[in-house]
């Protein structure tokens, strides 16, 4: 039993290494073109957050729309530490993660204590994003309407003001870590508990699962990662601003997670790559023609995927694979 688990982890680890190496090879292939790097960096940023969302949303089935709140908190914690006390972002990003996790606890504890779920949990979390945004707009000592530009000269490691490729490779490592965390969680007791909560909360409760604690743990892991990685939004933009409490990010993350297929480890990430690059592609091709037309297509694509492939994009990918790789699969079976 133990050894099979080890083998499974080893197997997954190899997949993750392959993914990371594959991702690491992309920039040289694209000759470090700044535009591609920036697009890829943003995609990776989303991929990491979606992958973190997967723990609470995919495994635990909680409709969390709070990603915008956690990214915002990450940005503001990191930025404020840097601006006020000149604490380098290397520390700041993790502080951001901690603050986000603490905030997740403050919100999650009563929410789960009072049995908030389904659409109500979703609404509460997205309302929080708006609350924080307005709160930081009013709180002029830290936020306010004025964007606060992060100090440091270009290329400074201390201020983490670096070419995109650095961010990109940091995020590749982050993605590998978060994917591995997904694997670990999925195979741990927490993972089983989360799955049982998703399937049937009452039944899980009866089987002795501490539903509240399980959800809370899932939420805090997710909040920590989102807060930490969310700081990169500020680092790349070069400023902190209340608009970084962005409900669009919340919706985007949830949609990518849902469309990717709940509970699977890799498909949300793959979906993020496909959909985000498709969206960027549509923007460049159609954006200058009629404003908004590319987003009409994007919205339609989302709807079509959900309507016709309810199990998510992973189902399509598997089908595509099955068609292409049918032969080789069969051969292996014969052996």
């Amino acid at each position: 039993m133990k050894s099979s688990m080890k083998r499974e982890i080893y197997k997954q680890l190899r997949s993750i290494v392959i993914i990371s190496v594959g991702l690491a090879l992309i920039p040289p292939i694209l000759q470090f073109n700044n535009y591609f790097l920036l697009v890829l960096t943003y995609i990776l940023l989303y991929a990491v957050i979606v992958s973190a969302w997967n723990i609470i949303g995919g495994f635990g089935g909680q409709l969390d729309l709070g990603a915008g709140a956690f990214t915002g908190l990450g940005c503001f914690t990191m930025g404020t530490l840097l601006l006020r006390w000149n604490i380098p972002p290397v520390i700041g990003v993790f502080a951001g993660g901690l603050i986000a996790a603490a905030f997740g606890f403050i919100i999650g504890y009563p929410s789960f204590r009072f049995g908030l779920k389904d659409v109500w949990y979703a609404l509460a979390t997205i309302a929080l994003v708006v609350v924080l945004k307005q709160f930081f707009t009013v709180w002029e000592q830290v936020g306010g309407p004025e964007e606060r530009y992060l100090p440091g000269t270009y290329g400074s490691l201390y201020y983490l003001k670096l070419p995109y490729s650095y961010y990109y490779y940091i995020l590749v490592v982050a993605l590998a870590i978060v994917l591995f965390l997904n694997v670990k969680v999925k195979m741990s007791k927490l993972g089983y508990y989360l799955f049982s909560v998703r399937e049937n909360e009452d039944a899980a409760e009866m089987l002795g699962v501490d539903v509240r604690m399980t959800k809370l743990k899932g939420l805090m892991i997710y909040a920590f990662i989102t807060g930490t990685i969310g700081s990169f939004f500020a680092l790349i933009s070069g400023y902190i601003h209340p608009t970084q409490f962005n409900t669009d990010i919340s919706l985007q993350i949830a949609i990518l997670g849902i469309v990717g297929g709940l509970g699977s480890i890799y498909s949300p990430v793959i979906t993020t790559f496909i959909l985000q690059s498709a969206s960027e592609y549509l923007r460049t091709v159609l954006g200058g023609w009629i404003p908004g037309i590319h987003l009409i297509f994007y919205g339609a694509i989302l709807m079509i995927i959900v309507l016709f492939f309810p199990e998510g994009l992973s189902a399509i990918l598997n089908k595509v694979y099955a068609k292409i790789g049918l032969f080789s699969l069969k051969k292996e079976e014969k052996k």
């Binding site: 049995g115 389904d118 609350v131 009013v138 949830a254 404003p291 987003l295 919205g299 339609a300 694509i301």
Partner: protein
């Protein structure tokens, strides 16, 4: 802070509350009966506002009078949306419903942008101009009209739901759709009609919003989440809950702006909403 201002803003908040409840009413009906989580509600309001604008412009009739046309048109619009989209996710899990309606939200918002451009569009007052004075206080006529319409719609809807066979069937379907189907209720047809009816109410609300607001492709953002908050606060099933919740939200905003910063007026409402969800998870007047 003077007492007069406080009372005046109480009045303003109350009148605004009626508008809010009217906007949320369609959503409350749809969600209450069908359990469909429609995140595109605000965008429906936005499209209905555009419809009001264009009809009012082309026929040269006051915005509020376009109801006669917009409500039926939106009823049909609702049915089409139901058949094309909602019907396919009505049995699906909430996550899928949210994903598909967010897709719809993106689509509608940008369709409005592509088709009608980004400039805000508004209607001049033709009727219902100005306000009248009661002592030191001013009551806006157009808001008062909205409040009255809101009440009338609420009462009519209540009567439909309790006094007509169709209404009883709606409530029965909302209670137990399998049992209703076994008794001969065509549940899909019922859903179609309810969705259409909800959209018709949205159209009524939109035509009155147009008396004081302008419409632009992003207008839905203001109304979508707010409507959901009101529905959640009001609790399900009860329509009076929607009215009460709308009033609470409107008055809370009015008071907040009187005493503090308008920039945080929504934050206060949403905080109130979160606290309420914690301590009264079934909403203020929840039956279930």
């Amino acid at each position: 802070m003077s007492l007069e201002l406080f009372i005046q803003n109480l009045i303003n908040g109350t009148l605004l509350g009626f508008v809010y409840s009217l906007v949320a009413l369609g959503l409350a009906l749809q969600f209450g009966v069908m359990d469909i989580i429609n995140f595109g509600h605000g965008e429906f309001v936005m499209v209905a506002m555009y419809l009001t604008f264009w009809i009012s412009l082309f026929l040269a009739i006051p915005g509020s009078a376009t109801v006669v046309l917009t409500a039926p048109i939106f009823f049909v619009f609702g049915i089409i949306i139901y058949k094309l989209v909602i019907d396919k996710v009505i049995e699906a899990q909430p996550l899928s419903q949210i994903a598909v309606t967010i897709g719809l939200l993106i689509l509608l918002r940008n369709f409005a942008l592509a088709a009608w451009h980004a400039e805000p569009k508004g209607l001049q007052y033709q009727v219902l101009v100005g306000g009248f004075k009661v002592g030191d206080y001013v009551i806006s006529i157009s808001r008062l009209a909205t409040a009255i319409v809101s009440l009338v719609v609420l009462i009519v809807l209540h009567l439909i739901l309790t006094k007509t066979y169709f209404g009883i069937a709606i409530r029965a379907t909302s209670d137990d759709k399998v049992a209703a189907a076994l008794l001969g209720v065509n549940v899909k047809k019922m859903y179609t009609l309810v969705f259409g009816l909800g959209c018709a109410i949205i159209a009524i609300a939109a035509s009155f919003i147009m008396t004081f607001q302008q419409v632009e492709p992003m207008s839905g953002m203001t109304w979508g989440l707010l409507s959901w908050v009101i529905v959640a606060m009001g609790g399900l099933g009860g329509l009076s809950g929607v009215l009460a919740a709308g009033l609470i939200v409107g008055i809370a905003q009015g008071i907040e702006i009187t005493f503090w910063d308008p920039r945080a007026s929504l934050a206060i409402v949403y905080l109130l909403f979160i606290l309420l969800l914690w301590f009264k998870p079934k909403g203020l007047f929840g039956k279930r």
